[in-house]
């Protein structure tokens, strides 16, 4: 087991004389046994990062080390890593057993008996013993996924790399495999880097998540830190489903003003936006309160009209139009039992302790929501990673 360190790692692709920066000056320090999820939209550089760690791409500059040993110039087979590919990349002409033995035959001195034993142990861990003599073509997607995992774990690598391994599974199986993968990683205690574009996978699986966009690291932290204390607008909008509501507002003293509404900041929060004129207000759908009564006199109560209600069962996603805008621009999650009709006039309240404020120009976070105290976030974070 070992920690994985990327420092100043940069990858520039040459596309017909035009340089494309896929990963820009990435610093990541992944601890021994940690499960880190690289997440971001397509083209954010997360797969390239993983491929550089695997040795399938060479970094243009910067170093990658496992333990204290730089590996960026080593060949993949010398790096003591194992990788699970999005397409699983099982060898179609080999049985499951042969697929899992291949790496051991090629990269270790184990004799046939040892290999058979190791493969059978791994197969038992993953519950695929009865599939060992079948070929990949005869397996379902979920079974192929397990074989791909099996092929990686038999190698007993220092670092485990997973490239969107669940994206080819149906929703139900994906949720199940998510839990299984986590358990497996916990049992094995292998340092793991997991790439996904799915924020749910990132939130639920990672000890820490690294959010990338445009080849740059946006934030690295526990899922709870990233969720409640996003470093910028991108992170805030990327994590959470439905996404955080954003409003571009102009600041006028303690007052934030837009065409649709005005919002008065409590003075202790207002200090955070001192000197800024353009401010983005962010508020999570589950934090917004809806009142049936529209009391015009109430402080910071914004009149709104219900546009569409999406029942999710346990809760409803309510899309509202604020003020007299003609499009739904606010999403609120309410209890599944709460009845709201389309067209109904309501009032919405953004609780001051649940709002996020970002710099309108740079997108950087100026103020994040208040949890009772900072330790709470830390606590949530450490509880998750334990």
């Amino acid at each position: 087991m070992a920690n994985l360190t990327l420092s100043g790692t940069t990858k520039i692709f040459d596309d017909g004389g035009e340089d494309i920066v896929a990963v820009n000056d990435l610093d990541l320090d992944i601890e021994d046994g940690e499960f880190v999820v690289l997440v971001g939209p397509s083209g954010c550089g997360k797969s390239t990062t993983l491929r550089m760690v695997a040795g399938l791409d060479t970094p243009t500059s910067g170093t990658i080390s496992i333990g204290d040993e730089p590996i960026q110039n080593k060949r993949p087979q010398e790096r003591d890593i194992a990788m699970v590919f999005q397409s699983y990349a099982l060898y179609p002409h080999m049985t499951v057993r042969e697929n899992m033995s291949f790496g051991l035959e090629e990269s270790t001195d184990m004799d046939d008996d040892e290999i058979r034993e190791t493969v059978e142990d791994a197969a038992e861990t993953l519950g695929i013993t009865e599939l060992l003599d079948r070929k990949p073509g005869a397996l379902s997607g979920g079974q192929q996924q397990r074989v791909a995992l099996g092929r990686a774990i038999v190698r007993n690598p220092e670092v485990f790399l997973l490239d969107e391994p669940l994206s080819n599974l149906d929703a139900k199986l994906r949720a199940q495999m998510r839990t299984e993968l986590q358990q497996l990683q916990n049992d094995l205690g292998v340092t793991t880097v997991y790439v996904t574009h799915d924020q749910t996978e990132a939130m639920t699986m990672g000890d820490r998540i690294a959010i990338l966009d445009g080849g740059e690291l946006q934030q690295l932290g526990t899922p709870m830190q990233c969720y409640h204390e996003p470093a910028n607008v991108f992170v805030a909008g990327f994590l959470g489903e439905p996404a955080m509501n954003f409003f571009n507002l102009e600041r006028d003293g303690d007052l934030l003003v837009s065409d649709a509404f005005r919002y008065e900041l409590p003075s202790e929060i207002a200090t955070a936006v001192d000197g800024k004129t353009d401010v983005t207000l962010g508020v999570r759908p589950e934090s917004v309160e809806i009142t049936d009564e529209v009391d015009e006199s109430e402080h910071n109560l914004i009149p709104a009209t219900v546009d569409v209600v999406e029942p999710h069962g346990d809760e409803n996603a309510v899309h509202l139009r604020l003020g007299d805008s003609d499009q739904a621009n606010l999403t609120v999650m309410v209890d599944g039992m709460r009845y709201l009709a389309s067209g109904q006039d309501v009032g919405v309240r953004f609780p001051p302790d649940a709002i996020h404020l970002f710099d309108g120009a740079t997108g950087e976070a100026l103020h994040n929501r208040e949890l009772t105290n900072v330790e709470q976030v830390e606590e949530i974070g450490t509880a998750q990673s334990a």
Partner: protein
């Protein structure tokens, strides 16, 4: 009168099955082409079993009857062609295997191994040029090459001391090598098309599993090429077996101990007294047997390969 016959007409039409003119037309066309393609083969087969008298006395399509039937032509054809037949096998089998192997390794190196896209493209262009060099243009340089630049017969002088080898067999070897060289570009192109469809992740997975470039080829790429190997093998075997121009140029005479079957066949059954059609037909059919057998052997791979290519 007409009124009285009408009901009878109607009932008659009901009895007949419904005629589908499209199907009738299709059947006729199929039958025509079936006969069109089969007639020459049929003619060849029946002629090969006829005595010379029966060949002139009967029409080509009638089978040999009674006294007109003989297997003597086949016996003579096999007797005449056996040396050429063996020479052709000695030349075709190694050159086909070598071409298929070299073609697929070349394609592997140009598609799935990463050593610089531009260099790969430059080499690919050379291969493509190789496909389009006309045979006629290289005949003179080719024979010059094998006689003056690489005189195999002299290089391999000690070999001719062996009892079953003859000096002329050096030419068979030069012919084999020529076929290999000439076959590689097209085989490479066929394999390349197939390898481009293989997923990169498969090769990458093997790399991470610790396999070297040669191991990836041997254990992953080659086993997956099976359908394409079938296609290329049939194609290459048939082309080399039936080839005449290089044989004529490099071996020269149908009486040479190294003469290939096509070379011997060209002179079979012709002498001053005229053409022995029966003998020629028997010889042609005998010479075509290996290609038919190869088709039968690789038919499944061939079909798979064609399906994979499209």
């Amino acid at each position: 009168m007409s009124k009285a016959t009408r009901p009878a007409d109607g009932s008659f039409a009901d009895v007949l099955p419904e005629l589908d003119y499209w199907k009738i037309g299709l059947s006729l066309v199929i039958t025509f082409f079936f006969a069109f393609f089969l007639a020459p083969i049929w003619t060849g087969i029946v002629t090969s079993f006829k005595t010379s008298g029966a060949v002139t006395a009967t029409t080509p399509l009638t089978p040999p009857l009674g006294d007109g039937f003989t297997v003597e032509k086949w016996a003579r054809a096999i007797d005449h062609l056996s040396t050429g037949f063996i020479n052709s096998l000695i030349m075709t089998i190694p050159s086909t295997i070598a071409t298929v192997f070299l073609g697929s390794t070349a394609a592997y190196g140009l598609t799935l191994v990463d050593w610089g896209k531009r260099a790969q493209f430059a080499v690919l262009i050379l291969f493509l040029v190789g496909i389009f060099i006309p045979y006629q243009a290289v005949l003179v340089p080719l024979s010059d090459f094998w006689i003056n630049i690489v005189p195999l017969a002299e290089v391999l002088a000690p070999v001719w001391e062996l009892s079953f080898m003859e000096y002329a067999h050096a030419r068979l070897l030069s012919l084999t090598i020529t076929h290999i060289v000439y076959g590689i570009p097209l085989c490479m192109l066929l394999f390349r098309g197939y390898y481009l469809t293989l997923s990169d992740e498969l090769v990458e997975a093997a790399k991470i599993d610790g396999a070297s470039i040669t191991t990836i080829y041997r254990r992953v790429v080659l086993p997956l090429s099976k359908p394409m190997v079938g296609v290329v093998f049939i194609y290459q075997f048939t082309a080399i077996w039936n080839e005449f121009l290089f044989s004529l140029t490099l071996i020269g005479s149908s009486s040479s101990p190294a003469a290939t079957v096509t070379l011997v066949l060209s002179g079979l059954g012709t002498d001053l007294s005229g053409i022995d059609f029966g003998l020629r037909m028997a010889g042609a059919l005998f010479a075509a047997l290996p290609t038919l057998i190869i088709y039968a052997f690789f038919a499944e791979e061939f079909a798979q390969g064609l399906a994979a290519e499209n």
